[in-house]
Amino acid sequence: MHHLTRRGFSLIELMVALVLLGMISAAVYQVLVSDQRIYQAQTQKIDLQQNIRAAVTILPAEFRVLNASDGDIYAMGADSIKIRAMRVFGVVCDTPILGGALGGRGVTVRNALTFGSRAFSSATDSLLIYYEGNAGTRNDDGWVSGDLIGTVAALCVPDGRPGTKLTTNLKPFLLPKQNLPGAIPLGAPVWAFEVDTYRVYQAPDGQWYLGLRPAGGAIQPLVGPLIGANGMTLSYFDAAGAVTAVPANVAQIEIRVRGQTAQPIRLADGRQMNQVDSILTRVALRNNRRW
């Protein structure tokens, strides 16, 4: 009778198999860990780059529209700047009554030609209204300012189309501007702005951020984490390209942002540290007075 002999694994075979399995598993594990580390590092770097790129999208958009020569920069430093941040633009379709009291003046703007990141807000906004004065010359053209104290839906006077009536307490006209009837004509542009501060600050989590503090509000993080108190530095240049410390002379602002990853990244040699990246841009202020 023929017996089918089944042979089992010997101890040596088993051990060889286990060693081989172990080596393969270790190699696979190393690959996995390495890939995981690279993946995480890559993700963090991408976040970092997006972060600092966001900074040079937000800040130039705010700075570009400034008119430093007419006082849009309230205060400026290397790590902070306080500005008139333009929020809404409109066009007058019912003019304010001038020649008398400046308080409670009503000016209606045309809805079809109103642009902005949000609506007019009497809680935060002030107005800049184009002053024509003598229509025969451009030399007296300028802007009169006032606090916005109310908004209500209204109709444009010449054509009955939808508008928004803005009630404002105008500030005294500074010479050569004069409080005369007709000084603000139909079609005059209107800007609404709020006073905002951008600065580097340290949050309760210990990290440094670029923050935005609206007038009367608390600071809130916009971009970060940054490498520290010098995570954003602003440099100011006049029209000739020289560094200036006078807000009214600023013609260009250079923005340098230095960010770091939110979490430390494990390097190939086992050390863990935050990756750092930086970006630099310079913005020309488009709305400075030309003469």
Partner: protein, 388 residues
């Protein structure tokens, strides 16, 4: 006999496949992240490019200001915005289009959208990029030294019913004028000249006659940054000197539009709401001219002398390098509404004068003409707007 173990089993293949799947997934993930990052960086670049195209487009539109298309409109929404078709930027980095809103007689809003080349060709996922911005412009008016209803470089004689009035007038039917302004001098003339009135002729203004040593040749030939020759070169209508008789008047074509091809159509100041009411040409006559009627508006430049008879009315600015002679006036109130400047001597209302021969200062007519004939430039400040 060697036996084959038929159900031999192992894990190597399975392990290898699992490992490959995991590694593959991680590599794919990293690749995906990298690709995304690259796309974002590219997007940022295209966005910047679109922004540059929009700014370049706005500058180009201002540089090549079209007075016929832009100035010839009524303020929005009486007239819609002038559409700007897609145009390639000079840099070849993209195209721009947009609209031009006339906000007031002298204010315009350029609403320009820029697209980079890839976005314009629809070669980017998600539709590509638009960057929209606005530019506020204001008419840069001709710098004409207007301090009187009539400015002359030589002596003047007024007779008959002739009247020169420096008080501000609003022409009949001009409904969009603001309140009248301060009175100017009636006649402002060079030092050493005389202004004589006889009969019922009169000169009014504040003062009636201003003898001013600052009146020089350049008062009549230099207007800010441009001179008389350059202004003449920009004329909409250039005609030789001749007797125009009664041929000057508005012409409307079959489509109900002001016919700008007719050389004797010099706009319609009598009926501002008519199709030619917004047409304010610069008319350049290269010699002596005689005009009896009917009417026009704009800037009238005459290299020689002008003789006006009958009921001709002109609304705007008149600059004559020779002499001016008026007579008659028919049933109309005036010959000239606006400001008149005559380089040589002026002789009014001779014995042939009948009816009124008036020269009335009108700030509104002057401003309307200056705003309608000049090109725009960026506003003095705050001309740049981010549109959303």
């Amino acid at each position: 006999m060697k036996q084959v173990l038929r159900n031999e089993r192992g894990m190597a293949l399975a392990l290898a496949i699992v490992a490959m799947v995991i590694v593959g997934a991680l590599v794919a993930g990293a690749l995906f992240s990298g690709t995304q990052e690259q796309r974002m960086a590219e997007s940022s670049r295209f966005q910047q490019q679109s922004f540059g195209v929009a700014e370049a487009g706005a500058s180009e539109l201002i540089r090549t200001w079209n007075t016929t298309t832009f100035n010839g409109r009524r303020a929005y929404p009486q007239d819609s915005a002038a559409a700007i078709a897609w145009t390639n930027a000079a840099s070849n980095t993209g195209s721009y289009n947009g609209s031009v809103f006339k906000l007031a007689d002298n204010l315009y809003l350029f609403d320009v959208t820029g697209r980079d080349t890839m976005s314009r060709a629809n070669r980017l996922q998600g539709g590509g990029f638009n960057q929209r911005l606005g530019v506020l412009t204001r008419i840069k008016p001709l710098q004409v030294d207007i301090q009187a209803s009539l400015t002359t470089g030589n002596s003047d004689q007024l007779a008959g019913q002739a009247t020169v009035d420096g008080n501000d007038h609003i022409p009949p039917g001009w409904l969009t004028c603001g309140p009248t302004g301060a009175a100017l001098a009636g006649v402002r003339s060079d030092k050493g000249t005389t202004v004589d009135t006889t009969g019922n002729a009169s000169v009014r203004g504040s003062p009636a006659v201003l003898i001013d040593s600052t009146v020089t040749d350049s008062t009549f030939t230099k207007f800010g940054s441009i001179n008389y020759a350059q202004l003449s070169a920009s004329a909409n209508v250039t005609v030789p000197g001749q007797n125009f008789s009664n041929s000057i008047g508005p012409v409307v074509n079959g489509a109900g539009q002001c016919d700008l091809t007719v050389q004797t159509n010099w706009g319609d100041g009598v009926n501002p709401l008519s199709p030619c009411g917004t047409y304010f040409p610069i008319v350049h006559i290269t010699g002596d001219a005689t005009i009896d009627g009917v009417q026009g508006q704009g800037i009238l430049l005459i290299d020689g002398s002008l003789s006006v008879q009958g009921g001709f009315q002109w609304f705007g600015i008149t600059i004559i390098q020779g002499q001016l002679k008026t007579s008659g006036g028919g049933s109309t109130d005036a010959h000239f509404w606006g400001a008149t400047m005559v380089h040589d001597s002026v002789s009014f209302g001779t014995n042939t004068l009948s009816g009124h021969a008036n020269i009335n200062y009108s700030q509104c007519a002057v401003l309307k003409v200056l705003n309608a004939t000049a090109k725009g430039a960026l506003m003095r400040s705050r001309s740049w707007v981010q549109l959303y």
